[in-house]
């Protein structure tokens, strides 16, 4: 029995050690996460205070002109968007923890977020982010941490595979960002989006039960931001007109009812003609971005003047 247990333990250690070795030694850049690296640097290494940090899903990354915002608001504006696959709780906690006194954190959730009830989400995108920046591991929930560890062997194989591909000079198309974090590579590309017959609301596979977990994550981020002397606001995402659904109005109203979360603007302001949509109902063309940014600027200025 002792011999059996000893060998099982040795096997466990060897297996973990090999995976840990792969985890630390492989070339992470091949994972296509340079963008995230740069975005992390935007908030972690920026020495200024009184910044505006905007985050959310890819809607923020693809549909905002932070340069224009910075110019009009006369302050540093950074676009630290991730994707819907990145766990909102991790993103909110991570950004709120890196705020400084006087900063403003503007969070723009996509409509999908209001219905994501999976507290233990551990998507590939999120796994890759942890690979890219292991210190983020501490921001995961316990279940997510276990979930992540079970995925390490797979990620190691994927990463190894990508490394080999890089060795044979395989080049991937990577999205580029500007110095403020906006995705700029699509600006000169042709629009590719084809509208779906059903609205975004109907496209959800979830049961449309509003996520209490998401609400708690927002409230927690607000608490962290305020404890650092920063302010926390939420606004609405831009969306293609044909994919918008009026049922969002009631749902979102219900979501924020009796919460002390600060909302900016109205949903209808950010509904855009399908002509201005680039490759996804949440992604805008160059002209769409400009219009959206101007609408957002008005809403922010109104809020700041009221303040």
């Amino acid at each position: 029995m002792k011999q059996f247990i000893k060998k099982i333990i040795i096997f466990g250690i060897a297996f973990s050690a090999i995976n840990a070795l792969i985890f630390v030694s492989l070339q992470r850049e091949s994972f296509g996460l340079m963008i995230e690296n740069k975005k992390n640097e935007l908030i972690e290494n920026s020495g200024n205070s009184n910044r505006m940090v905007i985050s959310g899903g890819s809607n923020v990354g693809y549909s905002l002109d932070s340069e224009l915002m910075s110019e009009k608001l006369n302050m540093e504006v950074f676009n630290v968007s991730f994707s819907i696959s990145h766990d909102y709780e991790l993103v909110l906690n991570y950004i709120a923890s890196n705020l400084k006194k006087g900063d403003t954190f503007l969070y723009i959730p996509e409509y999908d977020n209001y219905y994501i009830n999976n507290e233990n989400m551990m998507s590939h995108a999120l796994c890759m982010t942890i690979y890219n920046k292991p210190s983020l591991f501490t921001h995961l929930s316990w279940t997510q941490k276990i979930n992540f560890l079970t995925k390490v062997p797979k990620m190691n194989i994927l990463l190894g595979y990508k490394n080999v591909k890089q060795l044979i000079a395989f080049k991937e198309n990577k999205a580029e960002i500007n110095k403020r974090g906006d995705y700029i590579s699509p600006l000169n590309q042709q629009k590719t989006w084809k509208k779906s017959a059903i609205t975004r609301y109907e496209k959800y596979t979830y049961d449309h039960k509003l996520s209490n977990h998401f609400k708690k994550a927002l409230q927690n981020a607000q608490k962290i931001a305020e404890s650092k002397g920063a302010s926390f606001y939420i606004t609405y995402p831009s969306i293609a007109a044909s994919q918008y659904d009026v049922r969002f109005v009631e749902d979102v109203k219900e979501f924020y009812k009796n919460s002390d979360l600060k909302l900016i603007g109205k949903q209808e302001t950010y509904i855009f003609s399908d002509d201005l949509v680039f490759d996804h109902p949440y992604h805008l063309t160059k002209e769409g971005r400009k219009q959206r940014t101007e609408f957002l600027l008005k809403d922010i200025q109104k809020e700041l003047i009221q303040k």
Binding site: M1, Q3, F4, I8, F11, A14, F15, I18, N19, I146, T150, K151, P153, K154, N156, I157
Partner: protein, 475 residues
């Protein structure tokens, strides 16, 4: 609880540690632990259906004792019928009630009557066909005076609910498994290692092979009308490997887990795709079910010791019943019928026992004739699998019809090199280990590399392919 789940990964070491460290040498407590663990294992799926297992256990325990104590043959027969009625009644209700109702409605409509009978929303309890057959074999063997009834309710309950094989077999005989609950179990390093080897190989077959194939099989079978001939052939081939990987994988894990606890379960698969004819295939595929039908249906009907007409009737009966055992759908019955039709010519030519040894027993590779035999057997088995997998008989016939519809206008899909390589790897490994139960490497360095690589692959594919239920859970 699934064998390929995190819950089982936590459950197994806990039960194993308690079993060998806390309760070593206390056989009674070890049996209690197995019973509790088995109920937890089953209750993880749906605790309400535990009552069914407990009910079946109490009935068969009591009936067996009463039957043993009965003084006349008629009383013994009465208790046997009681056990058959209860067990088959439960099975009929949970598994076949809606099928009978629907078939009755279809039949009445076809002869011009309008029957307004509604079906019920019945959930099929996982593993009901397996544990029902296991307990039936117990009462039948008592009736036949082959075994004595068990007097310890804990041992008997643990035998019925033994978690490694509770939900998908092997369907154990009381004469093999029940006495093991009375014997002192001592930890055997050799058995434990072979158990681990079987678990790893079983997980590889399930997680890496079967679940990878499942992704394509589901898409191809659900949309067979849009795919071209090569895709449909590929879909059928993938399903052949999916069902083999899934079910034999489960059996390997079950046998391996049982070995970790000092139990020896019967072999359920002996590399069935290396069979040279359909009779050999059925001696190698789902052995515990085939032998169950042989012992409790075929032989009582006279088996092969009757005239030719009755022999043919008996073959049809066991294949049709076997098909029906798999599920309440005409597809399974037709699948059984097809296998009977493939089998009958061998019976008529008296060649149904001509291939009882292992193929190419004394050589590395098969001869050309053996390759032909293996290939032709695999093809007819795969054709029958199309009926097994299809949603309805019509869908199965359309699927086969479309295979022969040579058109370039349809879509090609599923030619995934990765899966084809994995299946090739499986075939090579299984070929070189065709007389063994799982790969066993003598060189310790290669053995450790094998363990590390196979574990890495299992974890990789378990994340890649989302967790899929074992197919045989539905039976």
């Amino acid at each position: 609880m699934l064998f390929n789940s995190i819950a089982f990964l936590i459950f197994l070491p806990i039960v194993f540690s308690c079993y060998w460290f806390l309760l070593q040498k206390k056989i009674k407590y070890q049996n209690i632990l197995i019973l509790v663990a088995s109920y937890v294992f089953y209750g993880f799926w749906d605790w309400r259906f535990l009552s069914l297992i407990i009910f079946s256990t109490i009935i068969d325990y009591s009936v067996a004792k009463a039957m043993h104590a009965a003084t006349t043959q008629s009383k013994r027969k009465y208790f046997l019928y009681l056990s058959l009625a209860v067990n088959l009644g439960l099975l009929a209700f949970f598994k076949y009630f809606n099928f009978f109702i629907e078939s009755l409605v279809d039949l009445s409509q076809s002869i011009g009557f309008q029957a307004n009978i509604t079906t019920l929303n019945i959930i099929l309890p996982v593993g009901i066909s397996f544990y029902t057959f296991q307990t039936l074999s117990y009462t039948i063997d008592i009736y036949r005076k082959k075994i004595e009834p068990e007097t310890d309710i804990i041992k008997f309950s643990a035998f019925v609910a033994f978690f490694p094989q509770l939900v998908a077999g092997p369907i154990e005989r009381a004469s093999n498994l029940l006495p093991q609950f009375s014997k002192q179990r001592t930890f055997s390093y050799k058995n434990a290692v072979s158990g681990i080897q079987l678990i790893l190989w079983g997980l590889f077959k399930k997680v890496v092979i079967a679940d990878s194939c499942a992704t394509y099989v589901n898409v191809i079978f659900e949309n067979s009308e849009i795919y071209n001939s090569s895709t449909l052939i590929l879909g059928a081939l993938f399903f052949a490997f999916q069902i083999y990987g899934d079910f034999s994988g489960y059996s390997d894990i079950a046998i391996g887990v049982a070995r970790l606890f000092g139990f020896d379960l019967m072999t359920n698969f002996k590399k069935p795709y290396f069979s040279r004819d359909i009779a050999e295939f059925w001696r190698r595929w789902h052995i515990s079910l085939s032998t169950w039908f042989r012992d409790y249906v075929y032989i009582p009907l006279g088996g092969s010791k009757v005239n030719l007409g009755k022999k043919i009737r008996n073959v049809f009966i066991i294949f049709l019943v076997s098909g029906f055992w798999h599920g309440a759908n005409w597809t399974f019955i037709f699948w059984g019928l097809l296998n009977a039709l493939f089998f009958i010519p061998l019976l008529l030519l008296n060649k149904n026992r001509s291939n009882t040894n292992t193929v190419a027993e004394n050589s590395i590779l098969p001869s050309l004739y053996e390759i032909y035999q293996l290939g032709s057997t695999f093809i007819i088995v795969t054709i029958a699998w199309i009926f097994f997998r299809a949603e309805s008989l019509t869908a199965a016939f359309v699927y086969i019809q479309n295979i022969f519809n040579w058109t370039t206008s349809k879509t090609m899909y599923g030619w995934n090199l990765e899966i084809i390589l994995l299946i090739t790897l499986l075939i090579i490994v299984e070929w070189f280990t065709r007389t063994k139960e799982a790969p066993q490497l003598q060189n310790p360095y290669f053995r450790w590399i094998y363990y590390l690589v196979i574990t890495q692959l299992i974890l990789f594919y378990s994340v890649k392919n989302s967790v899929v239920d074992f197919i045989y859970f539905q039976f």
